[in-house]
């Protein structure tokens, strides 16, 4: 079933309108306007998603723990995240005396930058994508290691031993788990034969069984599991939150950060979680494609729902798994974390890649 991308309306309608309004003919200026619109859209999307994720995390963890969670600000505390944000915004920003001022204030921006870079290539819908890079997957792998710099410099610039230990842990952890993230993404590249995220999504057209998690027997599922686990480690969430480990390192790399600088780390962390789950959705769960079960009556209903809604539903389902894992398990020790990656996850990912190659070579893909 071939889908003609061009039959869907473009979402650049607003950009077109603005260009017409201003009478812009110049190509460069038109591009600038287009990308400014995209940047503005991403900023709004990031703000709303972060607010929602903070609220969701607090509410979901509360109910895991037989609590109610925020209940006071708005109906069932729905405005709690907003109130927190406002509080963080107006908090005094402190910097330790002997810290390196430039690096100290630069560090929180790096993870934020990585966040926006990856968001700009995520396909939200048929045309809802800032830009579709041909080597999208490679770009993801390159950029996801980029936020490590932020953590590393934050710990170094803070002039605090806890921060330093935290950032060193973060660097070691991210470099290690980067490998299994890359390997499980490579599996998808191998299966689909594409490196552009949009084309990977279109390679999963058809029914639910055509999603890579089901389409490649065992290999797809294992790849998704390995990717999810290593994404949890990549995003520094429990049970792999070595870099923060509040019972050991007070707050790890962001011990000395407060106010707006802290909230940038916080925001980047939550967005990293969203990106990780969005990548799972894109690569393994059919991205923005509506689930089709081969039952015409149901399928025609499901396809009416816009693609970005399906995309968000799939992403948030994975986020729920992230939260579920975080609020159930104790934290691993730093050496166990490394052992888990090098002795278990990496061999599994490698074998899985080989298995995937066999599947492709023998044509055993369902």
């Amino acid at each position: 079933m071939e889908i003609d991308i061009n039959k869907y309306p473009t979402t650049n309608a607003i950009g077109d309108y603005v260009r017409q309004l201003m009478g812009v003919e110049h190509k460069l200026l038109a591009t600038v306007i287009d990308y400014s619109m995209a940047a503005l859209g991403l900023v709004i999307f990031v703000s709303i998603t972060a607010l929602f994720l903070v609220y969701a995390e607090r509410k979901v963890c509360a109910h895991f723990q037989a609590r109610l969670g925020p209940m006071r600000v708005g109906y069932h505390g729905i405005l709690q995240a907003l109130a927190d944000g406002v509080k963080l915004f107006f908090k005094e920003g402190l910097r330790p005396k002997d810290s390196d001022a430039v690096v100290f204030y630069l560090a929180p921006m790096i993870p934020m930058m990585a966040t926006f870079l990856i968001l700009s290539i995520l396909p939200f819908d048929h045309h809802l994508q800032v830009t579709d890079l041909d080597g999208g997957i490679l770009f993801v792998i390159a950029i996801s290691g980029f936020s490590t710099f932020g953590l590393l410099t934050a710990g170094w610039a803070s002039n605090n031993k806890y921060s330093m230990i935290g950032s060193m842990r973060a660097a070691a952890q991210m470099i290690s788990y980067e490998i299994s993230v890359a390997l499980s993404l490579l599996l998808v590249v191998l299966l689909s034969g594409e490196t552009s995220l949009m084309k990977i999504v279109y390679s999963q057209q058809g029914t639910v069984a055509d999603w890579w998690i089901f389409k490649a027997p065992v290999a797809g599922f294992l790849g998704a599991v390995v990717f999810t686990i290593s994404s949890i480690a990549e995003t520094n969430r429990g049970p792999f939150d070595m870099a923060e480990a509040e019972s050991e390192l007070t707050a790890g790399f962001h011990t000395e950060y407060s106010g707006i600088t802290f909230s940038m780390f916080f925001l980047a962390e939550f967005m990293a979680m969203f990106i990780a789950s969005a990548l799972v959705a894109t690569c393994f769960l059919g991205g923005f494609l509506a689930p089709q079960f081969g039952v015409d009556a149901l399928d025609s209903l499901l396809i009416l729902v816009p693609g970005f809604v399906w995309f968000l539903i799939k992403a948030y389902a994975v986020i729920f798994v992230f939260m579920w894992i975080r609020w159930t398990f104790p934290r691993l020790r730093v050496d166990q974390l490394m052992a888990f990656e090098w002795k278990f996850l990496l061999p599994v990912a490698l074998l899985n890649l080989v298995f995937g190659a066999v599947l492709v070579a023998m044509g055993w893909i369902l």
Partner: protein, 155 residues
């Protein structure tokens, strides 16, 4: 309990992974049950549930001196509570009433010093003081914690 769980280190690579997976999924199952059973939520929405709040009748929140409908107390000014208080938070000022008999003039209770140990209530031979259940005692003024439980008229 211990025997079937020890020796994890001795087990083979595969069985360790298997035990890991089974034990972790059983934990996940438990928390999921909690997520989907609102009846297990234990949170009390405190200021809202003030009406239905159950305060045990023996709860020790602060010392009170109950007065009957005529405004009379049962205190005989024996000063046992004052003597037995470990923290010096009670002062019983004795005076003479109109008939010239020994009577309670002023009963001062310094709530800021009290550790709510219940000894004053225990030693009181006439049950003139009791432990009250009013626990919302926060004030913004230290002076407000020096309570006068009883003051004779005209004193």
């Amino acid at each position: 309990m211990k025997d079937n769980l020890t020796g994890l280190q001795d087990k083979s690579y595969i069985s360790r992974i298997w035990q890991g997976i089974t034990s972790l999924t059983s934990g996940l199952k438990l928390t999921l049950v909690y997520l989907f059973s609102p009846s297990k939520v234990v949170t009390q929405q405190y200021p809202e549930n003030r009406e239905t709040l159950h305060i045990p009748p023996r709860f020790r929140a602060q010392v009170e001196m109950p007065l009957d409908e005529n405004g009379n107390h049962k205190c005989t000014s024996c000063k046992l509570c004052e003597k037995n208080c470990p923290n010096g938070s009670i002062s019983v000022l004795v005076t003479k009433d109109k008939t010239g008999k020994k009577a309670l003039g002023k009963y001062i209770y310094r709530f800021s010093q009290c550790t709510l140990c219940n000894i004053c209530v225990e030693v009181c031979p006439t049950d003139a003081i009791i432990m009250g259940q009013g626990f919302e005692n926060a004030t913004t003024d230290r002076e407000a914690l020096d309570l006068t439980l009883f003051k004779m008229e005209g004193l």
